[in-house]
C-alpha cells in the first residue's frame, strides 16, 4: 500500500514539474544566436568575395554548414583564430590560394584615365564609388573596404589600391620596432 502511495505521489509530482518545465521552456524561449550570425559578426565585411561566396554573410552561412574557415583573406590569421575559437577547432593556416598580405588598402581612381564607363560602380559592393556615365568617377575613401572588386571590371586599368597611411591616430605601439631616428 505504502509503495503504491509513494509511486503515486512521486508520479504526480513528476507530472506537475514536467508541466511547469514544459510551460517555461515555451514561455521563456530564448532565440539563440545562430552560428552563421556569430561568424558573420567576426568577418571583416569587406564583401570582397575572395572566399568564393558573394559577400561575407553567404560565407558565414557556408562556414556554419561546414565550409573551411580559412578562406577569408582580408581577415587573415586573426579572423581565422576567432572563428576557430567560436567553432572549437584548431585554427588552420590561411588558404594558400590567397595572398597573405591583408594590410588595409583603399581603392583610388586615376581620374585623368577614367572614361566614365560605370563598370566599377556596378562592381562595388558597398556603393563607395561616385560617378555616372561618361563622367569621371571617384572613390569615397571612408566607405571603401579595400575589396579590390573594382579593379578587374575597369577597361582602362585606372584603379589602383593604395595602402592606408600610418598616422598618429591609427598608429600601433610596437615595442620591438620603435622607429629609431638618428638624432642630428
Amino acid at each position: 500500500m505504502t509503495t503504491l502511495l509513494a509511486i503515486l505521489v512521486l508520479g504526480c509530482m513528476a507530472l506537475v514539474f514536467g508541466a511547469i518545465l514544459g510551460f517555461a521552456s515555451v514561455k521563456f524561449h530564448v532565440e539563440g544566436d545562430p552560428l552563421a550570425e556569430q561568424v558573420d559578426a567576426i568577418l571583416p565585411q569587406t564583401q570582397c568575395g575572395q572566399c568564393g561566396y558573394p559577400g561575407c554573410k553567404p560565407y558565414a552561412e557556408a562556414v556554419a554548414n561546414g565550409e573551411a574557415i580559412n578562406k577569408c583573406a582580408p581577415g587573415g590569421e586573426d579572423t581565422i583564430k576567432k572563428i576557430a575559437d567560436l567553432m572549437g577547432v584548431e585554427p588552420p593556416p590561411l588558404d594558400e590560394n590567397h595572398d597573405t598580405d591583408n594590410s588595409p588598402k583603399v581603392a583610388f581612381i586615376i581620374e585623368e584615365d577614367c572614361i566614365g564607363c560605370t563598370k566599377c560602380i556596378q562592381a562595388c559592393p558597398v556603393d563607395a564609388i561616385l560617378g555616372t556615365t561618361k563622367q569621371m568617377h571617384t572613390i569615397i575613401a571612408d566607405e571603401c573596404t579595400g575589396c579590390d572588386l573594382c579593379i578587374d571590371p575597369c577597361p582602362v586599368d585606372c584603379i589602383i589600391m593604395i595602402p592606408i597611411a600610418k598616422t598618429p591616430q591609427n598608429w600601433q605601439w610596437d615595442l620591438n620596432n620603435i622607429p629609431v631616428v638618428q638624432l642630428d
Binding site: D40, L43, P44, Q45, T46, Q47, G55, C56, K57, P125, V126, D127, A128, E143, T145, K166, T167, P168, N170, W171, Q172, W173, D174, L175, I178, P179, V180, V181, L183, D184
Partner: protein, 735 residues
C-alpha cells in the same frame, strides 16, 4: 556636504589607493626664475596640438602673419585654433615630425620670424564683469586654449557644461618628478592665475573652489594662501606628496572622497578640474587678448648645464631650448618629452613645443638610461604583487600584462584596462623591470583599432545590405515599368487615333509578313511545284540563279513527297525518286546507293536463317536504300549536307547489320524492321530539311539521336512476347 568642506578645512583629506614616492629632483629648477628665451630661427606649429580634430587652415605659404593672428579656424567644438607665436612669414606647410611617441609626421606650419615681434591689434578688456558668459567662452575658444596639464582637452568644452557644479578644482599638484613649471608660474604670476580662477568662477559658479597643491612647494603655497586670503570661496588644499596625486581622478578622490566611475566625466558628479596653467592662459586670453602662444616649460635633467624653467613660444624646436639651457651631448642625445614617469623619448630634437608640453628632460646616462643604448632588461614576472599594491586605479597590473601579451582583448576588458591612467607606478616598482605601461599602451591601441575596424565592418555591412535591397527594388521597378509600358502601348493602339492606326497597321503588316513567310515554309510544296513548272527564261543571271533555287526546292519537295508515299508504296518509290534526280551528281550518288543496297541485300540473304527473317531484312534494306537515295538526291549542292547524309547512311547500314546478326526469330526481326523504318524516316526527314539551315541540322541530329534511342528501346521491349505480337501487327499494317 558640509562634512566634506569641514574635512578640507581641517586638512583631513582622503587618500587614493597605492601611489609611489619617486625621487623628486625638482631642486634642479625650483631655485631659478622663469627665463624668457630668444625667438628661434624657425617655429614649427603642428595644426593639431590637443585631443580632438585639427581646425581648417586660414593662411597660405608666403603670408605675412602678425603675433597672435589666428592661423586656423573652425566652428567644431573639438577643433582648437592655433595662433602665430610671433610676427613673420609662413615659409612652408608640410608634414613634419610631431611630439608623439610614434615619431610620425603630421601637417605643420613653418614660420620664419621677422624678429620684430609685432602684435596684431589687441582689445584689452579692463572690466571682465561687463562681459557675458558667452563672450567669455568665445574669447577662450578663439584663443585656442586646451588643457595644459598634459591631455590637452579643449577648455571651452569643459567649461560649457550644463551640469550643476559643486566643486571647481584647480590642479596645481604637479606630482611628477623634475617638473616645476606650475610651481614657478604660481610664484611669479599668482594675480593672473587668480583672475583666471575668478573668470572660471563666473562661468561655472561652483559652490567651492579647491586648489590642490602638494606640500613640496612651500613657496607657491604661501603665495597662493596670501592671494586667496580674502576669498572665502577658495580653499588652498595642501596635500601630502605622493605620485600620482595630480591625476584627475586621484585628485578628486583625495579632495572630495568621491571615486569617478569608469567612463564618466567628472562634470556629471558636479566637479570640474582645470590645470593652474590653463587658468593663467584663460586670464591672458580674456583680459589681455593674448591667445595661447607661449607656455612655461621645465627644461631639466642632469645632462644640462643650466636646467631652468623657460617661457617658450609654441612651435619652438626642442633642440633650440636645450641649446639655450646648455646641452653638451651633441652626438648621443636622449630627450624625453613630459616627465620621467609619463613622458616618451623623442625621435628627433626638431620636435616642436606644443600646448601640452610641460617638460623637456635631458637626463644623463646614470639618471635614466636610453632605451636605444641599453635595450630591455626585462625578466620574467615573479608574481610579487607590488604593482597591484601601487596601482592608483586599483587594477591588477600583472594580470593585465599577461592578457596584453596574449592579446586576450576580452579579458583585458574584464580587467578594466581602459581605467589605467598609464601613470607608470607599476613599472616603477617592478623588480623584474617589466615595462608594464608599454604593454598596456600596445593593447589599448590594438583594442581601439579593433573597435574602429568593427565599426567600419558594421558600416560596410549596412551599406552592402542596403545595396542588395536597392538592386532588388530596382529590378522589380524595371519589370513593372516594362509591364506598364506594354499596357500603355496596347491602350494607345486601341484608342482609335490616327497615330494609333498607323502604328497598328505597321504592326499588323509586320505580323502578316511573318505569317506569310511561315506559310511559305510549311506548305511550300504546292507553290514551289507551280514555280518549277514555269521557270522564267530570262537572260539575266539573277533569274538563272532563282531558277536554280527553284529547281533545288522542287527536288526537295519531291523527296518530301517520297516520304509521304513511302508507307503505302515502297516499291514505286525508286521510280518516283529517279525522274526528279536530273542532276548528274545526284544520279551518281543514287547509283552508288543502289549498288550498296543490292550488296547489302545479298549479304542479308546469306545470313538469313529462315524465310520470314529474310523478307523482313529485305524490307529493312529497301528502306535503307530509299533513305540513302532520298538523301543522295536532295543535298546535291551542299557539301556539308552530303557528309551528314553519308553519316546517316552508314548508321542505317550498321543498324541493319546489327539487327540481322542479333535476329534469332522472325518476331524479333519484325521489331527491328519497325525500328529501322523509324530510323529511315528520321534520316529522310533530316535529309530533306537541313539543306540551308545550320540550326535545322542540329535539330536533325537530335531527331537522329532520338530515333536511335527508340530503336534501342524497342530492342528491349522485344523481349516480352505480348509486345512482340503487337509489333508484328504493326508491321503487317505498315507493309
Amino acid at each position: 556636504m558640509g562634512s566634506v568642506i569641514e574635512r578640507i578645512k581641517r586638512a583631513n583629506f582622503w587618500t587614493f589607493h597605492g601611489g609611489i614616492h619617486p625621487p623628486e629632483q625638482k631642486f634642479l629648477t625650483t631655485d631659478k626664475p622663469i627665463r624668457a628665451v630668444s625667438i628661434p630661427e624657425q617655429l614649427i606649429l603642428p595644426l593639431q596640438q590637443h585631443i580632438g580634430i585639427a581646425a581648417d587652415l586660414r593662411v597660405k605659404i608666403g603670408d605675412k602673419v602678425l603675433k597672435g593672428q589666428a592661423l586656423t579656424q573652425s566652428m567644431h567644438p573639438m577643433a582648437v585654433p592655433i595662433h602665430a607665436p610671433t610676427s613673420g612669414t609662413i615659409t612652408a606647410i608640410k608634414d613634419a615630425v610631431i611630439a608623439h611617441p610614434s615619431g610620425l609626421s603630421e601637417l605643420c606650419l613653418f614660420i620664419t620670424p621677422d624678429g620684430e615681434d609685432t602684435w596684431q591689434e589687441r582689445h584689452i578688456c579692463t572690466d571682465v564683469s561687463k562681459l557675458s558668459h558667452n563672450e567669455i567662452i568665445d574669447k577662450i575658444s578663439s584663443a585656442g586654449i586646451s588643457g595644459m596639464g598634459g591631455a590637452g582637452f579643449p577648455t571651452q568644452v569643459k567649461i560649457s557644461t550644463r551640469d550643476k557644479i559643486q566643486f571647481l578644482i584647480i590642479n596645481a599638484a604637479e606630482c611628477e618628478p623634475y617638473i616645476s613649471a606650475d610651481d614657478l608660474l604660481i610664484r611669479e604670476h599668482s594675480p593672473s592665475i587668480l583672475d583666471g580662477i575668478n573668470i572660471l568662477d563666473r562661468i561655472l559658479s561652483p559652490e567651492h573652489i579647491l586648489i590642490g597643491i602638494e606640500n613640496n612647494k612651500p613657496e607657491a603655497i604661501k603665495v597662493l594662501q596670501q592671494a586667496t586670503a580674502n576669498n572665502e570661496k577658495i580653499q588652498v588644499c595642501v596635500l601630502p606628496t605622493k605620485y600620482p596625486t595630480g591625476g584627475e581622478k586621484q585628485l578628486i578622490q583625495i579632495l572630495t572622497g568621491q571615486e569617478v566611475p569608469s567612463g564618466v566625466f567628472p562634470s556629471s558628479l558636479g566637479i570640474v578640474m582645470q590645470n593652474i596653467a590653463t587658468c593663467f592662459a584663460i586670464a591672458d586670453a580674456v583680459i589681455n587678448d593674448i591667445p595661447l602662444i607661449k607656455r612655461v616649460v621645465t627644461v631639466s635633467g642632469q645632462a644640462l648645464q643650466k636646467p631652468q624653467n623657460v617661457w617658450s613660444l609654441l612651435g619652438t624646436p626642442v633642440g633650440f631650448l636645450l641649446e639655450q639651457c646648455g646641452y653638451p651631448n651633441k652626438d648621443k642625445k636622449h630627450i624625453i618629452m613630459g616627465g620621467p614617469m609619463m613622458g616618451y623619448s623623442l625621435p628627433s630634437d626638431q620636435v616642436p613645443v606644443v600646448k601640452t608640453t610641460n617638460c623637456i628632460l635631458a637626463p644623463s646616462e646614470q639618471e635614466i638610461s636610453s632605451p636605444y643604448s641599453t635595450g630591455t632588461k626585462e625578466v620574467e614576472c615573479i608574481r610579487c604583487g607590488q604593482c597591484s599594491d601601487v596601482c592608483p586605479s586599483q587594477l591588477l597590473p600583472q594580470e593585465l600584462q599577461w592578457s596584453a601579451k596574449a592579446k586576450d582583448h576580452q579579458q583585458l576588458d574584464k580587467l578594466n584596462l581602459f581605467d589605467c591612467i598609464e601613470c607608470g607606478a607599476c613599472a616603477y616598482v617592478c623588480p623584474s623591470q617589466i615595462p608594464l605601461v608599454h604593454y598596456y599602451r600596445v593593447a589599448k591601441s590594438e583594442i581601439r583599432q579593433q573597435k574602429q575596424l568593427d565599426i567600419k565592418a558594421e558600416h560596410a555591412k549596412v551599406r552592402f545590405e542596403a545595396r542588395k535591397e536597392r538592386l532588388a527594388r530596382d529590378k522589380i521597378a524595371r519589370e513593372e515599368k516594362h509591364k506598364a509600358a506594354a499596357q500603355a502601348r496596347k491602350a494607345r493602339m486601341n484608342s482609335g487615333t490616327s497615330e494609333a492606326k498607323t502604328e497598328k497597321s505597321a504592326v499588323a503588316a509586320a505580323l502578316a509578313r511573318v505569317k506569310a513567310k511561315k506559310a511559305q515554309q510549311t506548305q511550300g510544296s504546292d507553290s514551289v511545284a507551280a514555280q518549277t513548272v514555269a521557270p522564267p527564261a530570262d537572260n539575266e543571271q539573277k533569274s538563272q540563279v532563282s531558277a536554280a533555287i527553284a529547281r533545288a526546292k522542287a527536288k526537295k519537295l519531291a523527296a518530301q513527297k517520297n516520304v509521304a508515299t513511302y508507307k503505302s508504296e515502297p516499291e514505286n518509290k525508286l521510280d518516283d525518286v529517279k525522274p526528279t534526280a536530273d542532276d548528274k551528281k545526284a544520279k551518281i550518288a543514287a547509283a552508288v546507293a543502289k549498288a550498296k543496297a543490292r550488296k547489302l541485300t545479298e549479304k542479308n540473304n546469306d545470313n538469313a536463317v529462315d524465310s520470314d527473317l529474310a523478307v523482313d531484312d529485305n524490307i529493312t534494306n529497301e528502306a535503307a536504300v530509299l533513305a540513302s537515295q532520298a538523301e543522295a538526291v536532295v543535298p546535291a549542292n551542299d557539301k556539308k549536307a552530303k557528309i551528314a547524309a553519308a553519316v546517316a547512311k552508314a548508321k542505317a547500314r550498321k543498324l541493319a547489320e546489327k539487327n540481322n546478326d542479333n535476329a534469332v526469330d522472325s518476331d524479333l526481326a519484325v521489331d527491328d524492321n519497325i525500328t529501322n523504318e523509324a530510323a529511315v524516316l528520321a534520316s529522310q526527314a533530316e535529309a530533306v530539311v537541313p539543306a540551308n539551315d545550320k540550326k535545322a541540322k542540329i535539330a536533325a541530329a537530335v531527331a537522329k539521336a532520338k530515333a536511335r534511342k527508340l530503336a534501342q528501346q524497342q530492342d528491349k521491349l522485344a523481349a516480352t512476347p505480348s509486345e512482340e505480337k503487337t509489333n508484328k501487327h504493326v508491321k503487317s499494317e505498315s507493309t
